[in-house]
């Protein structure tokens, strides 16, 4: 089990982080490094695309929350693209739907950032 992370530049000063695979206690450090690297380079507006993510646990949620906290310190934000009902359910029951912008498509997620 692994996770693939691909970072793309988008319009404005936004970046899109495409993820595929499973985000768990073993793979989440890779995601943390990718997000941390973007923030260190001054990218504070992120869309994280979870459409190809099959599984996420609390450590993965923690990485996303940590990233959001860091970009907010610089006036930025993180929007998520999520269509998997099981993953949406996790954001619902943890109340994280109130913290993240969650969208069905990348265009809408980017539009809400800029």
């Amino acid at each position: 089990m692994d996770i693939k992370v691909n970072v793309r530049e988008a319009k404005g000063d936004c970046s899109v982080v495409d993820l595929s695979g499973e985000i768990d206690v073993y793979t989440s450090p890779k995601l943390k490094d990718a997000i941390g690297s973007l923030i260190d380079r001054g990218v504070y507006n992120l869309v994280i695309n979870l459409e190809k993510v099959r599984y996420i646990d609390s450590t993965g949620l923690g990485v996303l929350i940590g990233g959001l906290k860091r970009v907010r310190e610089h006036g930025g934000s993180v929007n998520l693209v999520c269509t998997n009902p099981q993953i949406k359910k996790i954001f619902d029951i943890t109340g994280l739907v109130m913290i993240f912008g969650i969208f069905d498509g990348e265009d809408a997620a980017l539009k809400a950032l800029v």
Binding site: M1, E22, D24, V25, Y26, Y55, D57, S58, T59, L61, G62, I65, Q86, I90, I93, T94, G95, L96, I99
Partner: protein, 140 residues
Amino acid sequence: MNAQAQREATPDVVELRIPAKAEWVSIARLAVSAVASRLQFSIEEIEDVKLAVAEALVHAIARGGDRVDLACESVPEGLRIRVRNFGGPVQPEAVNVVTADEGSMGNLGIFLIRALMDSVDYDARSDGNTDLVMFKHLPS
């Protein structure tokens, strides 16, 4: 009681022992998914059980020790899962968290277990370690 009746009265138990390392959690997730599937849980319920067990394993690994034992017990009402850690006792207040706390991922894991399973209890053992016992009812 004849031999067949005795077999039917005894719960089926599937056990797994993994090293207390993050890279083995996915193996346990797969095993628990297979057990839950065998018991005719729905796909959504299987996902619930899988995540709850993974969170319990993460919690157990974080406590230390060299291994974590997992036991899945099939009973007529559903599936009972016991996660045994060998890293010392768990503070009882750790299981009484009822709201997601953005500042604490450990608490978020316990919150998820409580939200996804029908019951969650801690069973303190005489050796000072603790079992986390979860139950998921089969739909009636």
